[in-house]
Amino acid sequence: MTAAEAPAWLGRRVPRIEDAALLRGRGQFVGDIVRPGMLHARFVRSPVAHGRLLGLEVEAARRAPGVRGVFTAEDFRPHLTSPELAVAMPAGAIRYVVNPRVLAADEVCYAGEAVALVVADTPHAAEDAAALVRLDIELLPPALDPGSALEPGAPRARLGCADNLLARFTVAYGEVAPAFEVAPHVFRDRFHLHKGGGHSVETRGVLAEHDRVDDMLTVWSSAQMPHRNKGVICAALGRAEDRVRVVAPDVGGGFGPKFVCYPEDVAVPLAALLLGRPVRWIEDRRENFAATTAERDQLWDVEVAADAQGRLLGLRGRLLHDHGADTPYGIALPQNSATNLLGPYVLPAYRLEISVALTNKVAATPTRGAGRPQGTFVMERMLDRIADELGIERAEVRRRNLIPPLAMPYRTPLTTRDGAAMIYDSGDYPACMADALRLAGYEDFRARQKAAREAGRHIGIGLSNYVEGTSRGPFETAAISIGPSGQVVLSTGASAQGQGTATVLAQVCAGVLDMDPARITVRTGDTAAIAQGLGAFASRQGPVAGAAVLQAARLVREKALLAASHLLEAAPEDLELVNGAVRIRGIPADRLSLGQVAQVLQGMPGFPLPPGLSPGLSSSVAWQPEALSYANGTHVAEAMVDPETGRITLLRYLVVHDSGRLLNPSLAEGQILGGVVHGIGHALLEETLFDAQGVPATLGYPAYRLPSAPILPWIEIHHRETPTPLNPLGAKGVGEGGTIPAAAAIVAAVEDALRPARIRITQLPITPRRLRTLLAAA
């Protein structure tokens, strides 16, 4: 990049422009927004996992004090183009597209599925009245265990589907069978990998208001993808795109589940339309457990083939995925698990058969990591198995299998979700691991471990490498507009849930326009601010929206210089943009503010614009990444285990990561820290449980255990920066890499701490009880 284009603010720890309001309690989350005449909604939900809904008795609720409306699927039907949400994501392997229903009718397929909506003057009145709705349900046998759900004669999770096999597909390449025939070593393991929910501290919420003056339906929603929600709402309600606005105001954490468009996202706006009053619904925590999508169980049965030096020859097996009752987000989760298994390694032959089971549980959709931690866990644990069986040091086994830097860009034999080749664009995986081992004092650990053991302490070390495909397309948008006020407004289809999106995009813009990022107004997550947009998923917004902002800012800059060249009667190359104003080089007094340039480009009736210029000091760009860019990293964990109690204490956690050029190191570190701690929860604590009838058994905290401050070590983060050639900023995504390798590294450390006992941890989370059971059997 030339000096003029150099994003001067990039790579700096610029303070967050989001903080001023949030620190003062002046954020505007959905639950904080009040509209005149606003009513409150409460959903009636199925208390059972599976049943025929024979009847709904709502009259008592309708008569209850303060109630303004009670709606069932039948009440909604005339007002919907379809009783289902049009949310299907294409995947050839899906045998049954099961879109969620706005409200369930005839059959309920998971405990928590919404069957009716009560709207009242207050949340109390709505909740009281909802309790008066009587459901007449004939219980049906539920399909709960994904394995037995696929056996012949198993109870069907949905009466409309002939069986429970939602999808079956194979991810494969290379000569797998011959590899196993010649391999001197073959090891087999079965893993039961559970991963929990998103657990943003803010639950979901929707507030809808219909303005009769302009027939505008405005929906404030704690959504990660407001433009997608708008599309679903328009389709469901048959409204034109310019009569629906979806706004994601301040959103209290996303982590995946909020990119799903839910039944409530249509039901609440429809109720507002029918009642002619604003309606707000704030999910309570029990609903969040029961009705917000989460990740869940994967059962892996795999074997790995290795040569005498521990080099991978092949890996094959089966993955059984507990999908849940409908398909709001396709089958991206098990696809990610299967393809991310490769990690940063050379795997000559691979065959994984994936079966996706419909079950009577809320749908499984991505949470931070999005299925990748499971694939990474399997690969990393099989590498540890090879190391232990062959007597090779665990890091050395990895060294022998890592893709060398000279092989970059490395074309894997796999394809991504959209059918494109999966190509690792850049990175030095061996150097990254070497950095991590050196910084962690890995070489000295055996001495430390020996000393600790002599003092009666069982400590162990584990490591894990990962890659993460980031910056998913197809595009993200940015529009920059400067008016006579001189105020720079940057609008984007990106949405923010705490990442610091506004700050990092303002940094990009500020570098090009040479101004303080704090002077830029950033509008995220509002469909009225920009026509197209995608939003938050797949660790993408910094690089993808950032690239769009970079291009949009350059266009505005060029236009400002060209316009000013006419006004100042100077050649454009003699002009410079300094501190938000255009001036003639060497003559600082001859300057025009961007506001003055904008004033001229706004036009005067009857007077022409300067030659060759279009109206307005503005630009709009949709930047389309040509492929995923792959971040990578190495995590090293040290753990102490009490063999008596099974208690695991993390002593140290170290991250070396490479997400390309860092746009704002503080923001990147924040993403990594949150990700690692999510991964620690995945490894040690978090487990969504159901009773034998399929009713959620974890409906609150601490029944569901989240990581808390006292159990965490100080997490050390070190950066490497290998710019990706796929992005003009050189940046890769950083949102999920912290989570992906964490469980593998921690479990390896726990196993290591218990040597010489050779336990093999194959189930997550590894709770003290499970660890004691393993130790008792060892």
Binding site: L22, L23, R24, F29, S200, D250, G252, G670, H678
Partner: protein
Amino acid sequence: MSEERFPISVTVNGEPHRLDVPARLSLADLLREGLRLTGTHLGCEHGACGACTVLVDGASARACLMLAVQADGRSITTVEGLERAGRLHPLQQALSERHGLQCGFCTPGVLMTLVELLDASPSPDEAEIRMALAGHHCRCTGYQGMVDAALSLSGGG
């Protein structure tokens, strides 16, 4: 249904209020809906997440577990009461500088707990700070920036 209401006198951020409140109204709902102080957030409504933490006569309490009638005669401080003459409380400043907040939803409750901690014990060490934060869920930050912020103020520097 006209619920029976009870008169209370409560001081919020230094301002006295005389209110008539229903018995089942939580302190959190009184603050958020009644007084429009929406900085106090609700994350779980069963006392686990800590987002609704406020100070009651200087001691931290879960506003979701306390009834509004129980606030009668008490002095409540919420996040909106931390600023002094337009200046952020040192903890608010430190939290921003040490990247101790991301989405900001849990932040108000965390601030109240840390204010209480530093008022009671001006030089907490890392373990004490982490223990004080044990009652808060944060899914964004891994708590590290919060711990760092409190440490930066521990011992007056």
